[in-house]
Symmetry: C2
Subunit: 474 residues, 2 copies
Amino acid sequence: MASEAARDQNNRNEGENGDRGFCGKLMNKVVEFPRKLKKLGQDDPRRIVHSLKVGLAVLLVSLLYYFQPLYDELGATAMWAVLTVVVVFEFSVGATLGRGLNRILATFLAGALGFGVHHLANLSGQTAHPILIGVFVFLLAASVTFLRFFPRLKARYDYGLLIFILTFCLISVSGYRDEEILEMAHKRVSTILIGAFTAVFVCVFICPVWAGDDLHNSVANNIEKLGSFLEGFGDEYFKVAGNTESNKALLQGYSSVLNSKQSEESQANFARWEPRHGKFRYRHPWKHYLKIGTLTRQCAYRIDTLNGYLNSDIQTPLNIQSNKVQELCMKMSSESGKALKELAWALKTMTKPCSAASCHITKSRAAANNLKSLLKTSAALLGSEGIHLLDIVPAVTVASLLSDVVSYAEQIEKSIQELSSFSHVQFKSAEPKKALQPCNSSASSTNDNVPHHVITIHKLPSQKEIGSKQGAAN
Amino acid sequence: MASEAARDQNNRNEGENGDRGFCGKLMNKVVEFPRKLKKLGQDDPRRIVHSLKVGLAVLLVSLLYYFQPLYDELGATAMWAVLTVVVVFEFSVGATLGRGLNRILATFLAGALGFGVHHLANLSGQTAHPILIGVFVFLLAASVTFLRFFPRLKARYDYGLLIFILTFCLISVSGYRDEEILEMAHKRVSTILIGAFTAVFVCVFICPVWAGDDLHNSVANNIEKLGSFLEGFGDEYFKVAGNTESNKALLQGYSSVLNSKQSEESQANFARWEPRHGKFRYRHPWKHYLKIGTLTRQCAYRIDTLNGYLNSDIQTPLNIQSNKVQELCMKMSSESGKALKELAWALKTMTKPCSAASCHITKSRAAANNLKSLLKTSAALLGSEGIHLLDIVPAVTVASLLSDVVSYAEQIEKSIQELSSFSHVQFKSAEPKKALQPCNSSASSTNDNVPHHVITIHKLPSQKEIGSKQGAAN
């Protein structure tokens, strides 16, 4: 953000210095454009498929103009079908279904109401007609617009309310005779039905993108990102691994979790429109994902604070680093990281959280408790070598934050357990091999007996780490 | 969130037990509805005004049907004007202008392109015509849909791209003769112009809601909310004030800051469409507000961690609380809180950050440094009375987090200073009385010489506090 503002300022200065800077900038943009287009497609190939699907749906609905019998029936109102396809077709099935149903229902209801009002106004005579219609239009537009501020209505029915106002005004205001209005309403409803069905058909039956899948994966990926940070944090903070800039950069994957609330909420709203698909039945508890997402974000806030200590100038002195505190902090960090990765895997594959996750959590909790006992015997840390209390403040703060993170990992585990216990959610049981895994909470450093899983996420936090894991798993 | 999921589960159980629960629920909803409506209006009365404005704009544009000369000219296409008003009219001026301009420009460009393609296809003969049109429609719909994924285009021109596809398809597909198409394109453009101008006129000239004002105020209010938390935190954590639940609840105002990113970004996008208004010139550096907003959120993450310690079971023992650490922590918290409130006031009133703010920051920094010196002499805290290191871990963590918060307050101050130094931003100079305020960084507890300002925000964090301040200011 800071660099963006600075760049803007520079651009403005360049602009003032002459037109050459502007031309150069324009050339740069033109040259960069195809590269950006390519990257956009590579980041998520479903975008290309979606674009082709929209082209296909528009093409299909424009055939209405070419089949003479259909065109004779519908005439110029066939354009409503094209219009419906373009505005209804969204990226995910849930969003498309939601918009389509909103549009159809709202058109139908508002059409009926508009016809009623028009008929009523006609009965009241030539003079009163426009006044009565005007009053109705004003009242309905104002009150439905106000309803759009309701958070619950806005989340699911905003588009429907908009179309309701629109159709009501179109039908009631237009100065036709009753029969013409009936015909117009009939044509409008049927063309909108054709358009909405075309959009939904293409959206659902050609490489569908389910909002529910996206929500499910993004919640799991967010937990995975926190796990990756925690696995790498201990080494990075205590400078065990080489302190390269690239390591630090690889740890930044968590930052996208901080602002994930709104996208998760809209995905959950879309998902509620979707029928049974894949592993998810209709009425899957999508709201529960928001709960898991909230816990993940709260954990991410602590991790953002921890991340501040990575870049802090004040570092713990070496003689402190080499002691038991360091070992326990690293254990808390790596074990809670592994636990979160296990939980992400369990959620993603819809397997009941296996003993491996709780095993890691138990270990990290044990490390936290050991650290507490250690801190009770403060002589182990202070005094003997002339170390001030100030010197261990960063380490103590990090330990305290890590202990918070362990609590959040426990809460996330509980919450995923809860999800798996909903009656209409089918979580597989863990493989027997995994379920029987003994949890040796007192084991101090050998964690090789716990199997690891590889989860593919869009931006891999650490290719190197995952590579070494794959080697271990095979 | 947790309680919501539990409530859902209960509701489902009730539903199974009988219909009485369902009827009761429905009755409850019906009874609660008017209360909720009233609250919605009271929370932000501009919502009521906006609804009435939409009603008025729709009424105005529906007059097209009643003036015979206009109706003779436009005929049934007058409905495009009604449609335009309904879909273009948004809450803020920036959003309405953005949508209106997008719609007009996109209709114009796509109309011209569509006419060109239609003409070209006509030249190619009867058989090739539909094929050529089909190919063009498919290619254009697919490629423009793909462009909508570009984050920058999506932020400002998403609606324009949608309307571009729409109009192009309507014009090129419709099987009319050239003259008819020209007439249709002309009518469509003129009715859309009428609709868009009506919407913009009503939106701008009747109680306008400026997105820029909203962004400006929400960034300032967010800083103010953090300030309120910090002012109250010290007392609450060290149990100086009575430990009531209501105090804790009043401190929760900060939580809305955590998820403010997306609303700030969309407001900044809308604000860029707005002309000069009030204190803001055209090309006001709205992007810089996003930078301040980012710093505010990062500070809020630390505050969320601090808030966790308020509810934690592990509290610092009393003998620690009564010592110097407590005094310094409370000072850091309250001084940085006051500094943030001063900064919020400076930003809100567009006054150059006065010495009062930097004075509070200097004081909080001094307290942080004093705490550091104190921690160097660890004997003052430990040993003598059998206090373990473990006992002071929470206090040390809180002190460390508060020290982070002080750094963020400094960065926020710098960032507001930077905003006030932009060439086309007019910040007033601070009043001479305030500018001459002496900054006594060594003063230990008498802060009454620093004037306080009252800022009205939607949800007041602590009525009591503000009340007492008002008393002091008057």
